[in-house]
Symmetry: C2
């Protein structure tokens, strides 16, 4: 968009007069809460009010929306969070919870002058239990640190994604983060065993548990998983772990058309079955935008078809298939049967018309390189120009339609130049989760793109059985499109839940649902 | 208990005066709703008022609690359910939703004169999609029929349990049914992709979806999964499917002590890992109560230790280990490495002091026999006398403590005769889910057992990190013990949710939570 980050905040929502302005009296109270060492953590909290120190908390990772929080509150435990939220509810002060601030839908930053409640100081070393195969972690623990603590005990943390070095457990739970292993190990709704959460009213709910089965009444933790910090602040979580795979194999295939990708996926389910851990699809264009030095093999995908602006459907697809298993011998055997079946079934379509050979990683280092290829895509695209990111989901046989549709809009209807504006699609195929990215290399077509893409992309989701948000959530960015994925009755019940939990609407306002 | 089924209903809860009595005017209205062919199902519903026809709907499977519903309403679609519930909310008529009526906590039957809303006529053939690997089924479809429809397409339905021949999809979803494959494939919260549900107010919520990832706002389906029909009536569900395993192997081990069971489980996670599909533990006593003709091998577990009433801790354990995988060769190879490692690690403890050899099923028929051994336990126990069933969960290293504790209470403190009252434990070890069963062979110790076991068993759960309900739910049976597994704040929020969803409390009253 042609707006500045500050203008964009105002564009999404006017500041609600229902919220009080933060005064020095309020700040003094917060300071007093945070100055007491917490009875459970034995640590003092912290408050930032210096403009320079606050700056990074006030703007999202994409530098799209900038708020003006007057202070950042950094409690160290649920008790402090509870005192803060109880007070804010009474004083009608708006608060936005923030973890690693890696969100992509403007869900974790202030829009106007909300206070930032940062979970960063709730970051004690995670406790891994081999006996219950679970980990208990505070919400400010960085995802990668949690993964590493589990790996040390021979156990696998079931979530990983590109932002693992910055994103935090509390945010992962609150946004129902998906990522690469979702198809194999499931969602946060599947893997979170328990949480400690402070509700918007300030009540501490101890829903911590490492029990696998526990049908004692309504399972309230699910209210907080994926509700993006609008109903409560998750302060701790217990998460299910899996046996660390002894064998991790990666293969890269090239396919000439989308039907072959679909066929390859069905063969993977049949031949790799229980050891299939990821099936990532990247179209040719998204591969060619990666810098050459990070590609561990001869550049293979041609992008002339896109640049020509003529044939939008004949794309090359790269498919990264990963297996996680307990026996390298068995997994390699399965992979070899799979590759053979694919060769038989797909023939020339499998290796890009005879130009490529399937690549099987020969070492852990090469496996890392292949993954870096996939995980590097969003970063490289963002560095190329003004980027529009859409995280949407479809039934898998309709996975790529949205990319083709967007090309038709931009190159066809809008007569844009494929050398100036790139449209790519990649994502987690097994989940039907496509990341549609539009990059304006010239950074000059903002207004035209805004008009052409919003709400066209989301409307396409609505009419093709898709969801406007696969894994990124709604935040502020998709709030006004929610009705395209959810019925009026469903949205009404969401609002009823919000009002019940947060009568003054102080927690993460302007996000997910409009203020009532 | 020494009460009749009708007395037991009154014992649990007095009839609330807030509910109206069903009159002929009400019945005429219901008849008119059910007489219209539904616009979606094109089928007419049905109403039963004949006392004989209604009898089986009025009493639970265990014949423990008997209500007096004046009518059974059998709608064929969500629209009819909606009209019924809207009317009942307006007229303050209490309603209990009922599926296969196989519940074990008195959650699915009338307590007093509630109307029964049976889902049995919502039973169109399930629709299986190979492309999205999911099935859509109406709530009245019997679990086994759903499993079979999926198997025909080469896909595995992720839930199975002893009651599969009678229990229904709507009840499975509403009670978050667990069963044997829970540890491998996860809970209903993991596997349900979407539902259609009629809320207690009568709103039809279309939350149907076969999308794997869908973070568009609060994920409201989780409110209805496991809330036992107190918030809404599930009328349809879409459920995730898995690749049908080409290989299914079963092995039976005998172990001399509980520590060895724990060790064997850790070895199973290490060696069988991704193909481990079940790890069921049965103590010696639960095996000896199975009739000999169904045991496919020489009777092996001795129960003298229990009968003697002296040493309650030295038990034999039988462990049934199942693998599901895509290659019989690989799975057998893994099983053989596993058995070898177990032999090395456990030595004499593995085969019951040298008396037994591990049994590996040689055919599908023998596999069925081994499973029948496990699944037959509850049926055989129930036929042996007056049975007390407790479905509880613990961290797995504390799995068997509750059984030993109960024996100490009954044989020690209460001086009961182990030849008259049997205490057994079996269950889904990987989930920490133990089924504690107490059988009074004489059917004469009801009052003494009542006094000795309630609330002692549940209090033991509370003080040992357990849950009063692993998979059976709360129903009416455990309602008054909920505070032993959930904090006051948590129960208060459950009540807030109930009041928000069902202002007059008409839906499945007296269950899960006390009437407010």
């Amino acid at each position: 968009m042609g707006l500045t980050a500050v203008e964009r905040a105002a564009h999404y929502a006017a500041r609600s007069p229902r919220f009080a302005k933060v005064t020095s009296k309020h700040l003094a109270y917060f300071q007093s809460v945070l100055d007491k060492p917490c009875s459970t953590s034995h640590r003092k909290g912290k408050m930032l009010t210096d403009a320079e120190a606050i700056r990074p908390f006030n703007v999202d990772w994409m530098h799209q929306v900038q708020g003006a929080a007057p202070a950042v509150l950094m409690p160290t435990c649920a008790t402090q969070v509870s005192e803060i939220l109880t007070y804010c509810q009474a004083e009608k002060l708006a608060v936005v919870p923030q973890g690693g601030n890696t969100g992509l839908v403007y869900g974790a930053g202030p829009v106007h002058d909300e206070l930032v409640l940062s979970t960063r100081l709730m970051n004690a070393m995670p406790v891994v239990s081999k006996s219950t195969m679970s980990v208990e972690a505070e919400s400010g623990v960085v995802l990668q640190q949690c993964q590493e603590a589990c790996a040390k005990e021979g156990l696998l943390f079931p979530l990983t994604m590109g932002s693992k070095g910055s994103s935090m457990i509390g945010g992962n739970v609150s946004t129902n983060a998906g990522g690469i292993y979702f198809a194999r190990y499931g969602s946060m709704h599947s893997n979170v065993l328990g949480i400690e959460v402070v509700t918007a009213r300030g009540d501490v709910l101890n829903l911590m548990s490492t029990l696998r089965k526990d049908n004692a009444g309504y399972d309230l933790k699910h209210l907080f998983i994926g509700s993006e910090g609008t109903l409560g602040v998750v302060t701790r979580a217990a998460i299910k772990l899996y046996t660390q795979p002894a064998s991790r194999q990666l293969a890269l295939f090239h396919l000439t058309d989308f039907a072959s990708v679909l066929e390859l996926y069905h063969l993977a389910n049949l031949y790799l079955a229980e050891c299939l851990s990821a099936f990532e699809v990247m179209d040719g264009e998204s591969m060619t935008t990666s810098p050459a030095e990070e590609v561990p093999y001869e550049r293979t995908c041609k992008n002339d078809v896109f640049r020509s602006g003529k044939d939008f459907s004949a794309a090359y697809f790269c498919v990264l298939v990963e297996t996680n298993g307990s026996s390298a011998e068995h997994d390699l055997d399965k992979l070899s049967c799979f590759a053979e079946a694919a060769q038989t079934k797909l023939g020339e379509k499998l290796n890009g018309g005879g130009q490529f050979e399937p690549i099987l990683s020969q070492s852990a280092a090469q496996a890392e390189q292949l993954w870096a290829l996939r995980e590097g895509i969003p970063v490289h695209l963002a560095s190329g120009g003004l980027i529009y990111k859409y995280d949407v989901a479809f039934p898998i046989d309709k996975f790529y339609g949205i990319v083709e549709h967007t090309r038709k809009i931009l190159y066809g209807q809008q007569k844009m130049d494929p050398d100036e504006v790139i449209v790519v699609g990649y994502g987690h195929f097994g989940d039907g989760n496509v990341h549609l990215n539009v990059v304006d290399l010239t950074r000059s077509h903002g207004e035209q793109l805004d008009a052409a893409l919003y709400p066209a992309v989301y409307e396409y989701c609505a009419t093709h059985g898709g969801s406007i948000s696969a894994e990124h959530g709604v935040g502020m960015q998709k709030r006004d499109y929610l009705h395209l994925s959810r019925s009026q009755e469903t949205i009404q019940l969401m609002k009823d839940v919000k009002v019940m939990m947060d009568p003054n609407g102080i927690l993460n306002p302007y996000k997910v649902l409009p203020l009532e």
